[in-house]
């Protein structure tokens, strides 16, 4: 299947629908994430943002329908671990780190597909140090904590471990971040935003889901807004800031009326 437009879109959804019983949680969403861009997805609580990510990353096989293309290839319907190997990686709102293993191991797990032979070979040869993991740890400023277990870190650092784990995936093409700033205070959020911007400058493609308007407006290149599962507004941060629909959704009044 060839994609007609925008060859630089890393991720594209077409007619993505998620239905829970009678409830349309995501309703016919068409969305693109441009290469090397930080795309924002905002919306009030319950708008379907996390459901959107779950559907794209294969966690809702029974409820989702539509099309998801990754660099032009259709990937909808693949299992989550397969999608991860394909380069579609994500973080979780509630972090979901692996608490029993070191930060380094948290990242290494995402590094390569483990074959039976590979697993057996581990018993007989020392493990190699993965240079890419070192790079990512350094990129995120976590190099001093590689040997620590995640629970020994601060909340902000733990968020970064989540990001690092997603980035470490063999061939991460796009990273979907689900409310990474939740629970961070103002200054931590600002610092976290800078880290994300740094990743984009390195050439990574990111989709940021967050309800912190300040963060999203400050760091994203392109923003989409979901309300009741539908994509109601899209545009640059400046456009979104003055869009009456955005203001209405967040404040409950239309910006022009006063």
């Amino acid at each position: 299947m060839s994609s007609p437009s925008a060859p630089d879109a890393v991720l594209r959804t077409e007619h993505l629908v998620v239905q829970f019983g009678g409830l349309l949680a995501v309703n016919d969403v068409n969305l693109e994430c441009g290469r090397g861009q930080l795309t924002g997805l905002i919306g009030p609580n319950g708008a379907g943002k996390t459901t959107f990510i779950d559907a794209v990353t294969g966690f809702l096989p029974d409820n989702a329908s539509g099309s998801v293309t990754l660099e032009g290839a259709e990937v909808f319907g693949r299992s989550p671990h397969r999608l991860s190997h394909d380069g579609l990686t994500r973080t979780w709102q509630t972090l979901e780190l692996f608490d029993d293993i070191s930060v380094r191991s948290n990242l290494e797990i995402a590094r390569e597909r483990l074959s039976l032979v590979g697993a057996l070979a581990d018993f007989f040869r020392p493990r190699r140090r993965d240079a890419r993991v070192d790079e990512i740890l350094e990129l995120l400023g976590l190099e001093d904590f590689a040997a620590h277990e995640p629970r020994e870190l601060s909340q902000g650092q733990r968020k970064l471990v989540g990001v690092g784990r997603a980035l470490a995936s063999t061939s991460s093409k796009i990273l979907l971040l689900d409310e990474p700033a939740a629970g961070l205070d103002k200054s931590e959020t600002a610092w976290f935003g800078e880290q994300l911007r740094g990743l984009v400058d390195e050439g990574h493609t990111l989709l940021l889901v967050d309800h912190d308007m300040g963060l999203v407006l400050n760091v994203c290149d392109q923003i989409h807004m979901l309300v009741f599962g539908e994509l109601v507004a899209s545009g640059s941060p400046a456009e979104m800031r003055s869009d009456p629909k955005v203001i209405a959704a967040y404040l409950g009044h239309s910006g022009g009326s006063e």
């Binding site: 009030p44 609580n45 909340q155 629970g183 205070d185 300040g214 404040l251 409950g252 009044h253």
Partner: protein, 239 residues
Amino acid sequence: MTERLLDISGLHTGYDGVAVVRDLELHVDPGEVVALLGPNGAGKTTTLMTISGLVQILEGSVSVMGRPVPKLRQAQRVARWGVTHVPENRGVLFQLTVRENLLLAKTRGRVDLDRAVEFFPALGPLMSRRGGLLSGGEQQMLALGRAIVAEPKLLMVDEMSLGLAPVIYEELMPVVRRIADETGAGVLLVEQHVDLALEVSDRGYVLNHGDLVMSGPAAELLANRALLDASYLGVESLE
């Protein structure tokens, strides 16, 4: 000095020892509707949970009718003092019928089901339907109806408008005012939608990132529109 219905002073609260709300001062008196406003993630829900005893106080004090909020294990006692908390996801039990949901309004004594129907006639024909099969609007009516028959002294409603279409929540909001006026209960209303909430409130507090950034009479807050919007959209003009 008469006892305040709800009195919060110097409150720090949050999870795992990390404060999500810092240094909060807030009070509610009988018969008044107070709005607690702020963008998502500001700490509004956490504040309500702390009042209900479901989140541990880190510092400061919360007292309801002069009694300090008990330890986590004893949270159910707060409800028995006459505090009714309609949580964000409405607290409707999906496996129970509407009637059963309403019966749980009180832990003992007779529950006047008719009163709920008086406020929300739509609930009448739904009595034997399961909570999970109701529409969002009907669930919210059930939640408010249950709060009404509980005859609370302090009613706390969290994000009533969440996931509801405007026509529905615009109808529900005035009910909150009515409860306060008719029963003399104090109401603490958590809302994202500023206009909606301030329309029915006497006073308001605005939280952002866990800090109290504004407070005052509803009219005063509405007059300060620009500042209010700024606190929501995260524009840097605030300190």
